[in-house]
Amino acid sequence: MTIRTRRAVATAAVVGLLPLLAACSGDDAPGEATSSGSPTGEAQLAGTVTLVTHDSFALSDGLLESFEQETGLTVEHVAAGDAGTLVNQLVLTADSPLGDVVFGVDNTFASRAVEAGVFEPYTPADIDPSVTALVGDGLEGLTPIDEGDVCLNVDTAWFEAEGVEPPATFEDLLDPAYRDLTVVANPATSSPGFAMLLATVAEFGEDGWVPYWEDLAANGLKVTEGWSDAYYVDFSGAGEGGARPIVLSYATSPAFTVTEEGDATTTAALLDTCFRQVEYAGVLAGTDNPDGAKALVDFLASAEVQSDVPANMYMYPADATVELPAEWEQFAPQSAEPLEIAPADVAAHRDEWIQQWTTAVIG
């Protein structure tokens, strides 16, 4: 077991820890930490780096192993639950971090973690401008790793069979023609559900989004606890016998409903209803192994991992220069103009918005 090595590392760290802690708690300008982010000399890397992620993190076999061989580091991976649970665990353990690097904090939760002082700012030296463009306001010092759109999906086959034109926008869903046809996940219990709430805030503004949801509820909206029971029980397009042809899902979902011939898909994402989630990696403040941690973030941002993201994490790589799987190019385009809310606004209003939503929709 690696417990023994961890203990050795920890003991060794105690000796050298005091000056390090002093450096951490001091008011280092983020810029300074950033500039020290040149690729670390591989020779001096050693020890263990613990990577804390949400449950959906995965890489192809052998990728992490080759990183370990190249750097001499040992990577331990801890999956800490869904995205919200992960962030709240990090905030709770800010004084005694669960690991050295985190991946999977997204733009709907990141501000909370930044405010709690969870991260030590660090940006890899050479990343593509497309990646830098994804860093949200107030989230400097985090490294975007992937992104994805949460959008309404429609069962195009159902609409064709019924001879009804599918909806295209949020407004359309209020049309009586689409009564009792929509199912979404609850924002209080599911991260795509919360993403849709944010999309409507962006679309209808602070004053308009609550009335919109009230109208939507009046038009026969159905709300489930999570994405999977909306998609597999209620959605007609999943092949499981559901009754509703409009579901909250992802822009990539149509790539999973490709016909047997492989030339068409039976569902489509409504690209005017998308909220873009960006997932970040960051160095955890108080890490025992800052050099190793930075090297691991560099690795996550590297072309090697970026091109591995779609197949393993079902997200688009943050680096726009990386090639996408063929069926994604064809069936799962991203929204050209995703709806956005600044991370700081999300952090300031999250609880209040979810309360308002619950009052408006659940009652």
Partner: protein, 567 residues
């Protein structure tokens, strides 16, 4: 009431150790984390860099109307779920433990299956049946109280069947036969002789089931939405989604109050009814199934429950698991279990996850049986001094608490305390060892509740006789307690193993991906789009179900008298 002979110094040391080890275990892995987390909710910055206690959260949360609605719903759902589980479970215990018929071992294995199925799979399966287009959609039970209670009974039926059955099959039938000989009808004989004797086991099972029902959260969320929230779902949402530790702490205290009240009531009920029973250690208590009213009625009840409530949803699951992604029938989903999923959804294959589950469960069951066995042993004694007697009763109740406290509270509490447990420089939070420990904490109450009714029912005169004949305390234990308890110990091992196989709440945020267990893998698969992944999740659930049923059957065969050729 019998009395234990006055112990000597050696015995004192032994009993002290037997009580101390479990208390230390529970203190480090349950009380400390929970109290630390709840404490966080009541501490605020005092403005001068320190922390001060602030209990205003109580006023705020307790003055909300929603809080009381949630408490009412929790009590209503748990009471209905418990009452139905007991009403249906007692006939089941009779049929499966007092009657002999072909296929009984299989039926016993089958009823335990729901107990370990991942809640998300069960939730989706129940919803598929109840959705407007589903086979039972016409009943209009979607998002209803009835649906939630049905699911709670589905999960907990086996707890009653097995706990009550475990005692019933050991019960000397002569008392009931005597009543019959004196002219009592079978019903009257059952009511006046057998039912009181089963009282402690029924109270035991009911307490466990109530705690499971009161703290169920996955299935309540899936089947009831926000409308049927319970204290547990509120704690979960406020902790994991909002990090509102203040409200969560108040709700945790509220939950603890409810749980403690239940434990007090159930222990009163037990104490009043508890008496030394005549237990037999041979198998004569079970009779061949007869076509009399006494056998037919419970059999019909059990048949309806097993077929309607258990087999129907399970059969749907099994059938669907054999449908290939393209809609045809075949074993594609099972073949795929050897892979890491459609487009590499997992970091381990399902078979590897199964291996992890088995290893973890073995360790968890060993810990739970060791600790729980010690607790049951200590609690089964009735010391002379009233103070000691109260202490023993308290020990019993304390070990039930883990069933009544939210898994999220325990899990988040681990994060705050186990970075350097007791000053040891081992970060347990990220070590693979914590998963079996967390599972054992949940399994210990089940072990205690399974073994205790049998241990308590042993006539103390047996022990006294053994002691008078010169047996040392250890020898009395070996010759009297262990053989009689062995059968229930087998069941307890099976239960602990099953709990561990199915546990998800704590495991989900403690498991490391390379040691992901089967339920964790199933959650991951069902959370991804793609027919392959969904099919794999169902096939993996079936594997988990078959494994559980087999484990339970083996556990029953291993209970002591290996020579028994009954099956």
């Amino acid at each position: 009431m019998g009395r234990t002979p006055r112990p000597g110094t050696g015995a004192w040391l032994g009993w002290g150790l037997a009580a101390g080890v479990p208390l230390l275990f529970l203190g480090v892995f349950f009380a400390w984390p929970v109290l630390t987390l709840v404490g966080q909710g009541f501490l605020v910055d005092d403005g001068a860099g320190g922390r001060e206690v602030d209990l205003s959260g109580f006023v705020e949360v307790l003055s909300q109307e929603r809080t009381w609605r949630v408490v009412g719903q929790t009590l209503a759902q748990a009471s209905a779920g418990t009452a139905l589980s007991v009403l249906l479970g007692v006939p089941g215990a009779y049929v499966l433990y007092r009657c002999r018929f072909p296929g009984r071992a299989l039926a016993r294995g089958l009823v335990t299956v729901p107990f370990v199925l991942p809640t998300v799979v069960v939730g989706v399966a129940f919803r598929s049946v109840l959705a407007p287009d589903g086979p039972l959609g016409f009943l209009g039970l979607e998002e209803s109280f009835v649906a939630i209670v049905a699911a709670l009974v589905f999960f907990n039926y086996s707890v009653v069947v097995r706990t009550v059955g475990g005692l019933w099959e050991r019960l000397d039938p002569r008392a009931e036969e005597a009543a019959r000989a004196l002219g009592a009808t079978p019903w009257r004989a059952f009511r006046t002789v057998t039912l009181p004797a089963l009282g402690p086991a029924i109270a035991s099972a009911a307490a466990v089931v109530f705690l499971f029902c009161a703290t169920a959260f996955g299935v309540v969320l899936v089947l009831g939405g926000m409308r049927y929230g319970t204290i547990e779902t509120e704690i979960w949402i406020r902790t994991t989604q909002f990090l509102d530790l203040r409200s969560a702490a108040v709700l945790s205290v509220l939950q603890l109050v409810v749980v403690t009240a239940v434990l007090v009531v159930s222990s009163r009920l037990r104490a009043r009814r508890e008496a030394a029973l005549h237990l037999t250690s041979d198998r004569s208590a079970a009779h061949r199934w007869r076509a009399t009213a006494a056998d037919v009625v419970p059999t019909v009840v059990t048949g309806v429950v097993v077929a309607g409530l258990l087999v129907l949803p399970l059969a749907g699951l099994v059938a669907r698991s054999f449908r290939a992604p393209d809609g045809s029938w075949g074993i594609d989903n099972y073949v795929a279990l050897g892979t890491t999923g459609g487009r590499n959804a997992l970091s381990v294959t399902v078979w590897e996850a199964l291996g992890n589950s088995l290893r973890t469960a073995l360790l968890a069951a060993a810990i739970a049986v060791l600790v729980g066995g010690l607790v049951a042993l200590v609690v089964s004694r009735r010391p002379r001094s009233p103070g000691l007697r109260r202490a023993v009763g308290g020990l019993d109740a304390v070990f039930m608490l883990p069933l009544g406290v939210s898994a999220v509270t325990v899990g988040f509490g681990f994060l705050l305390t186990l970075d350097e447990p007791l000053g040891f420089d081992v970060d347990l939070r990220t070590s693979g060892l914590l998963v079996p420990i967390a599972q054992a904490v949940v399994a210990i109450p089940l072990v205690v509740r399974t073994v205790l009714p049998v241990l308590r029912a042993i006539d103390p005169r047996l022990r006294e006789a053994a002691a008078t004949l010169g047996g040392s305390p250890g020898r009395v234990l070996r010759t009297v307690d262990v053989p009689l308890a062995a059968r229930s110990l087998g069941l307890a091992v099976g239960f602990a193993f099953a709990v561990s196989l199915g546990e998800f709440g704590a495991t989900s945020f403690l498991a490391r991906p390379d040691t992901a267990t089967l339920p964790v893998v199933i959650y991951r698969l069902i959370g991804l789009p793609g027919a392959e992944n969904y099919g794999m999740a169902l096939a993996a659930s079936v594997v988990l179900a078959v494994l559980t049923a087999s484990v339970m059957m083996v556990a029953e065969r291993l209970r002591g008298d290996a020579g028994g050729g009954e099956f």
